[in-house]
Amino acid sequence: MEPITTHTGVGVPLKQSNVDTDQIIPAVYLKRITKTGFEDALFSSWRKNPDFVLNQPVYKHGSVLVAGSDFGTGSSREHAVWALKDYGFRVVISSRFADIFYGNSAKQGLLAAKVAQPDIELIWKELESNPGTEITVDLVARTVHCGSVDTSFEIDNYTRWRLLEGLDDISLTLREESSVEAFEATRQGFKPKTLPAKV
């Protein structure tokens, strides 16, 4: 997982609250066998509408999504984070995230930054008056800069540390390698092994 310290990219205003994971990625895409390549699946129903924000050329290469409150509600599918990342988003800004989505984001290296709703409204205004404005999110200083708007965001210490270090769950566990090896050395000898196969 790639570490994040600061990220600068085009801000995309998604002026909607309660964006659920069925909207982020519909269930029909869950039958795939890959973990990447979901960029076409992101918001696929909404993208059929030519007026949808991502269909406007200026936002096509956006990487900071600025959404309404309660982002990521509904099904626990990890595909929602995969789709956002595959499309090119590194940061989602919202005043409130659904628990499971927030947890899934941290595990996959997507920064979910909690910004107060009045500041989100200011960022939306800025983006709409100057489409294509870049947003800088500084994870070290916990700040967001967008044109004339400067504000801070909330993130818990543990998640921030993991993102700064670029540590996914597996990397974290791999840090305990010596403990795992020590445990394996004491495992009971009678415990079964699948290999070599006996039938």
Partner: protein, 477 residues
Amino acid sequence: MADKPLTLPEKVWRDHVVVPGQESEGQRSPDLLYIDLHLVHEVTSPQAFEGLRLAGRPVRRPDLTIATEDHNTPTLEIDKPIADPISRKQVDTLRANAKEFGVRIHSLGDADQGIVHVVGPQLGLTQPGMTVVCGDSHTSTHGAFGALAMGIGTSEVEHVLATQTLPLKPFKTMAITVNGSLRPGVSSKDIILAVIAEIGTGGGQGYVLEYRGSAIEELSMDARMTICNMSIEAGARAGMIAPDKTTFEFIKGRPHAPQGEDWDAAVEYWESLRTDEGAQFDAEVILDADTLDPFVTWGTNPGQGVSLNGAVPTPTDFTDDVARESAERALTYMDLQPGTRMKDIRVDTVFLGSCTNSRMEDLRAAAEILQGQQKDPDIRMIVVPGSAKVRLQAEAEGLDKVFKEFGAEWRFAGCSMCLGMNPDQLAEGERCASTSNRNFEGRQGKGGRTHLVSPVVAAATAIRGTLSAPVDLLVSA
């Protein structure tokens, strides 16, 4: 100082902690647990293997990992390519991943292919005191051996493949004590359906259940697996039964059972895996097996069950708003009228199979009832053994002939109509007496209606055409 008395689940947990969780700001981070056995199938593993590939990681312990094909596999013409392209792709992907990462696989056509939860115990790989995981919620089945066995998600599958460990939050313990003895015609399926009706589909949330008491001790391993299998339907993280002589006899001589001195050492350890005198459970439920009837569901979740001698409930009898609304919705979907006697409900299809009830004892119990009987002419009955080996054993005992002479379809092994990921599905409006584990809307096919039943109730129903117990056959004879 004497050690604090522990429950069985706590003992197994204790023996697998690699790194204990840390206390910070009043919250405890998860313990890192070692995983003894990882079962893999084609539906929840493709992205996990891809994750490893993208990160350049190997499978840490291929020798503690085993794969089989079950969810998507056809139960007819298994020598032909799988017709559905998505199913075929998932199966092909598993085969390629197993080869690339050095994981043992039992593919369609192999004698040890079958439902993952039937294959593990059959090979003797599931043993007491182990931690067992699989990307499938019915992994709780393996708890019948006194193993701590849990279903996990795809990210966790990848985590276990890469590290052979899993960070897990602590759980609470619930004792399910079943006193007395089951009467003839009443089985372990009826116990678990009654338990879920009692505590509800969320009643076990956050708990590991330990089933105990005389009625549990009297059960065979096959019957114990049926009970632990459905722990997840009560919302529990796992269900366990303390290992005893029945458990040891089941394991002894199986391909991966310990041998010689290892066997003695194993049994000595296994015998220590009992809840200590004085250990405290966080909750307890007590059931009386002596008075238990065959149980059957009327609704669309496994908690909506009733005695087979009872009737479809009246929604307004439920005092809880949520339960009442859920019952109303269920009766509409199931097309049932309040007050209808369960035994007056006519079904179209009988499904004998699934990880809940597809082992030898299930097939034998059903065949014993069907022997020499006539199938109701309008019923279709499908019998799907849990594994290729169960199928072979059943054929060696002549059970296939009993099923075929009765007029049932004798199929190849897999998950089949339990969830209809393969072509075995109910049609819109079709009503099924099913020995599986979930009666959710559309589970067995869009618009299909499921009544969960035991194997002997399934058999009696196939004879009479209406939901029936074996005892009803005597009355009508």
